[in-house]
């Protein structure tokens, strides 16, 4: 019935050892024990340690059953929604080139759905109720058929109401058709989630009625006096007044915090210490997935530098960092090479800096390393309120990203500026293959296809950039870009703030990560490993404002909720630039279904392909989209309760 089901992967290839995904369950976890592993996967390791293989399903046919399940992550037994009896769901492994069939059966009393996050598929297979299909009714089975034309680390989740929060999330790994260009000896999925025992409907209602309900890091009389001590009376008062004038709070870092959340790493609360094994000197690939509903995680492994090799499923030039921030729904693959026969802590702290998810990399089961203290709570600054001048001061001179996305500036010009800028890696227009860093095999040079040829080929989805893809070169005379802007934003019930001078801050790792003594990944560091496949200049530019009113807990685009707005229309085959301007004080991970977004971060032909793009407070970010797949696509903020309250649009490609 389930071919290839539940195969605990332990396949040895020449260099790759997928598998031995083990976790320990509840060692010294003081009543914090997840009850999720099924006996089929558990394996006694003796003593007090219980190890088990993570459920992995492989093949091209999958039977998934969605049902409710009693879980216990916090010491309280509550009901969750599960895929094949586990929360998070099993890891799915697809192979590029296969056509996978997934029969999803709903045993819940309510409709459900599964969306394949970041997967390019026919629109009717995208799994968004109301756009792709009607949803999966109770006791019904929906059969997804997806021709897999990409590889990398992705994930899947329900797109129905709050089922993502209650457990319908899982990792989705696609093995490349060709030889894996990334060398590693072992690999593990590290899926980060945020769990609440509360009913998500209650969480949402609480936010609607008191938006700071979960903020227990507020400014208080006590922090006033400590600020006076450190900053002086005048500075403290004027700062409080500046925030008070607009009724905003600099501690508004996350709408939902550890006041209700327990952060899980591969379904394990911190006390249960999920453990991944390695042998000293081995190259370990960690596939990080932020599968949370509302949480930005800052991830690091103290004592172990991480080399980022993939972002959102797409290969990037290896870049070695100590820490990286993951917006909700983003994925990052890193390679670590633990040199010593000792344990290392995988530490993921939320932006709101209370609670954490934690696991361990160790040579043997039962080991653990020191858990670092949480970083101090970041405070929002005037830069986050869109006071551009102050933001500019904070930007380093080398921030060429600030030049991106300006209307009327064509790509060639931008590349010129990029090249002139000494801080960026040099870019050569006609030799995309860039000598790679250590450990990277050299690449064949992709053959360029000219636009006139391409027009004869006709419209079909572009492939994911890879070693054998070609770049479509635009040989038409450049024409002016039509710019579509919403009417000037005004403050009002739906938008509490309008950023006065939004700027790109792509080389800013984000609030709380500056000057922390660690090398932190930024969006400016992401340089695609392979050149983008669509070299055409955009013919249109669509500007959208991310808007919201925290106090009222209303979120939207351009000051309108989903139900008040018309869809965004893209012409099949056109190349557009989307400019996002964040008129709020929070980060929003914006996810466009169905097509890639090529983040304009100054890397010329090597713009990173992303499915989810984080826009920082008061930031202006632009990316290019090839509208190559027909359909109605969801376009939304991936913070679940923001999406729910209206930060959602339909994008129609036709």
């Amino acid at each position: 019935m389930m071919p290839g089901k539940n195969r605990a992967a332990n396949r040895q290839t020449s260099r790759i050892n997928h598998g031995r995904r083990r976790f320990v369950q509840g060692i010294a976890a003081a009543g914090v024990v997840a009850t999720l592993s099924r006996p089929t996967f558990s394996e006694s390791l003796g003593g007090e340690t219980l190890g088990a293989e993570q459920a992995v399903l492989t093949g091209d046919r999958f039977d998934l059953v969605i049902d409710s399940l009693a879980v216990n992550f916090t010491g309280r037994r509550v009901m969750a929604t599960a895929v094949n009896g586990s929360v998070p769901g099993p890891i799915l492994r697809w192979r590029e080139g296969d056509t996978v069939t997934l029969a999803v059966t709903n045993r819940l009393p309510v409709p459900t759905s599964i969306h394949w996050h970041g997967i390019r598929c026919p629109a009717e297979m995208d799994g968004v109720p109301g756009l792709s299909f009607a949803g999966i009714a109770p006791n019904e089975t929906f059969v997804y058929r997806i021709p897999v034309q990409q590889n990398g680390t992705y994930w899947y989740h329900s797109h129905s109401r709050f089922q993502e929060q209650t457990g319908i999330v899982g990792a989705l790994i696609i093995e490349p058709r060709d030889k894996e260009p990334i060398e590693f000896d072992r690999e593990y999925v590290v899926l980060l989630t945020d769990w609440t025992d509360e009913n998500p409907d209650t969480v949402y209602a609480n936010l609607k009625k008191q938006s700071d309900y979960y903020d227990y890091s507020k400014r208080t009389a006590r922090t006033f006096f400590s600020d006076v001590k450190t900053r002086g009376l005048h500075a403290t008062i004027s700062d409080r007044l500046a925030w008070g004038r607009t009724n905003m709070s600099p501690t508004d870092l996350a709408d939902v915090t550890s006041a209700t959340y327990t952060y899980l790493l591969n379904d394990k609360p911190p006390g249960a210490n999920w453990t991944a094994l390695f042998e000293p000197g081995q190259r370990v690939r960690l596939r990080f997935i932020n599968g949370s509903s509302m949480t930005f995680f800052d991830v690091r492994i103290p004592g172990l530098p991480m080399t980022v090799v993939q972002a959102d499923g797409n290969a990037v030039q290896p870049v070695t960092v100590d820490e990286f921030r993951m917006g909700t729904a983003e994925t990052y693959d890193v390679i670590v090479q633990p040199p010593a026969d000792s344990a290392y802590t995988i530490f993921a702290q939320p932006l709101s800096r209370r609670g954490y998810a934690r696991g361990t990399l160790a040579p043997r089961m039962g080991m653990s390393a020191e858990i670092p203290p949480l970083d101090p709570l970041p405070m929002r600054t005037m830069a986050d309120m869109g006071m551009g001048a102050m933001a500019m001061k904070e930007m380093k001179k080398s921030d060429m990203a600030g030049m991106q996305g300006m209307p009327g500036m064509d790509m060639a010009q931008m590349n010129m500026k990029g090249t002139q800028n000494g801080s960026m890696p040099s870019m050569q227009m006609d030799t995309p293959a860039r000598s790679a860093n250590s450990g990277t095999p050299s690449m064949e040079m992709p053959r360029a296809v000219r636009i006139s040829d391409a027009e004869q080929i006709g419209i079909k989805p572009f492939p994911q950039p890879g070693p054998h893809t070609t770049r479509l070169v635009d040989d038409r005379p450049s024409s002016p870009i039509a710019v579509h802007r919403p009417p000037a934003m005004r403050v009002g019930p739906a938008s509490a703030m309008v950023a006065m001078d939004p700027t790109a801050r792509l080389n800013d790792p984000g609030d709380g990560l500056n000057q922390n003594g660690r090398r932190v990944l930024t969006y400016a560091d992401l340089r695609a490993r392979y050149p983008g496949v669509d070299g055409r200049a955009p013919s249109r530019e669509i500007e959208l404002h991310l808007s919201g009113n925290m106090e009222r807990y209303v979120w939207g685009f351009d000051g309108y909720r989903y139900s008040q707005a018309e869809p965004v229309h893209l012409k099949l085959g056109e190349r557009v630039r989307i400019v996002l301007i964040n008129d709020t004080m929070m980060e929003h991970p914006i996810h466009l279904h169905g097509v890639w977004g090529e983040l304009e971060n100054g890397h010329g032909e090597f713009l990173p392909y992303k499915h989810t793009i984080v826009v920082k407070p008061a930031e202006r970010v632009s990316y290019l989209v090839s509208a190559d797949t027909r359909g109605r696509w969801a376009y939304h903020c991936h913070l679940l309760y923001h999406m729910k309250s209206g930060m959602f649009r339909t994008v129609i490609v036709s």
């Binding site: 629109a123 109301g130 009607a134 008191q210 009389a221």
Partner: protein, 264 residues
């Protein structure tokens, strides 16, 4: 006659049977493989929207639910408000009153339609009715006002009331939540009432008639449940004070209060 009716019926029946047959054939012919949906076509009507972003919520909040200790006879006082509605359209209900020694006073109950004010971030306008229902004579007013969050986090609600006979009244309410710690909250609060004409039957004079102020210190055991202690000062002024003295009541009083903030 009856034969004609019968033949008419038969003809209708035949037509219906035929059209049913055609319809069945036609729909069956459509079932095979899922056609690629044309995105330019509207979404089928039986599909749910991808997000429900305008759901109805209900809210009930007691700013005051307390015993006031002034002299021998404690007073029970409540001041609550609640709403039901969506982002843009709400029905507000407000109620306040005192019960002391079996008599109820200061009973004020309002039902108001509420909507956000365009171009203002944190204020709604409200319009509806107010009924003074307590142990005194009943009064009914029309009401119009605004309510929201003024800069620097002040809760602020001025309302105008009007009724037959040219009576106009005004009420100003304000409060502020000062977080001493993450759970300990100090809340100063004030309410003032104004009238343009006296209403001796309810003991009300012209001008600023009365003021109720207090400072309360509560501990949020949870966000929705916070016991508090506090101190209140109430006073009547001018003619209103004179009416009170004539009725043998003090023109002003201060009291120690014990209560609980609750909401859901």
């Amino acid at each position: 006659m009856s034969a004609r009716l019968f033949s008419n019926f038969r003809r209708t029946f035949c037509l219906m049977a035929l059209s049913t047959l055609f319809w069945t054939l036609a729909t069956h012919a459509q079932t095979p493989p899922q056609p690629t949906p044309d995105a330019s076509q509207p979404v089928p009507l039986n599909w749910p929207p991808p997000v429900h972003d305008n759901e109805v919520f209900e809210y009930l909040n007691f700013n005051q639910l307390e015993g006031r200790i002034t002299g021998p006879q404690p007073t029970f006082r409540w001041d609550g408000e609640g709403w039901i509605g969506t982002n843009k359209n709400k029905l507000w209900l407000k109620s306040e009153g005192d019960v002391s020694n079996g008599t109820m006073s200061d009973g004020d109950h309002e039902a108001l339609y509420d909507r956000p004010i365009p171009h203002l971030r944190y204020f709604d306008w409200q319009a509806g009715v107010r009924a003074d229902l307590d142990s005194g004579p009943k009064r009914t007013w029309g009401a119009i006002g605004i309510q929201g969050l003024a800069p620097y986090f002040f809760e602020f609600a001025p309302t105008f009331y009007f009724r037959d006979g040219g009576h106009v009244a005004g009420r100003l309410e304000g409060s502020y939540n000062l977080y001493v710690t993450q759970r300990l909250v100090l809340q100063p609060q004030i309410e003032m009432n104004f009238y343009n004409k006296p209403d001796p039957a309810r003991g009300i004079g012209t001008g600023l008639s009365d003021l109720d102020s207090g400072i309360r210190l509560g501990y949020q055991i949870s966000r929705k449940f916070a016991p508090y202690i506090g101190f209140t000062y109430s006073s009547s002024f001018g003619e209103t004070a004179a009416f009170a003295r004539r009725a043998g009541q003090p023109a002003y009083s201060s009291s120690l209060v014990f209560g609980v903030w609750i909401w859901r």
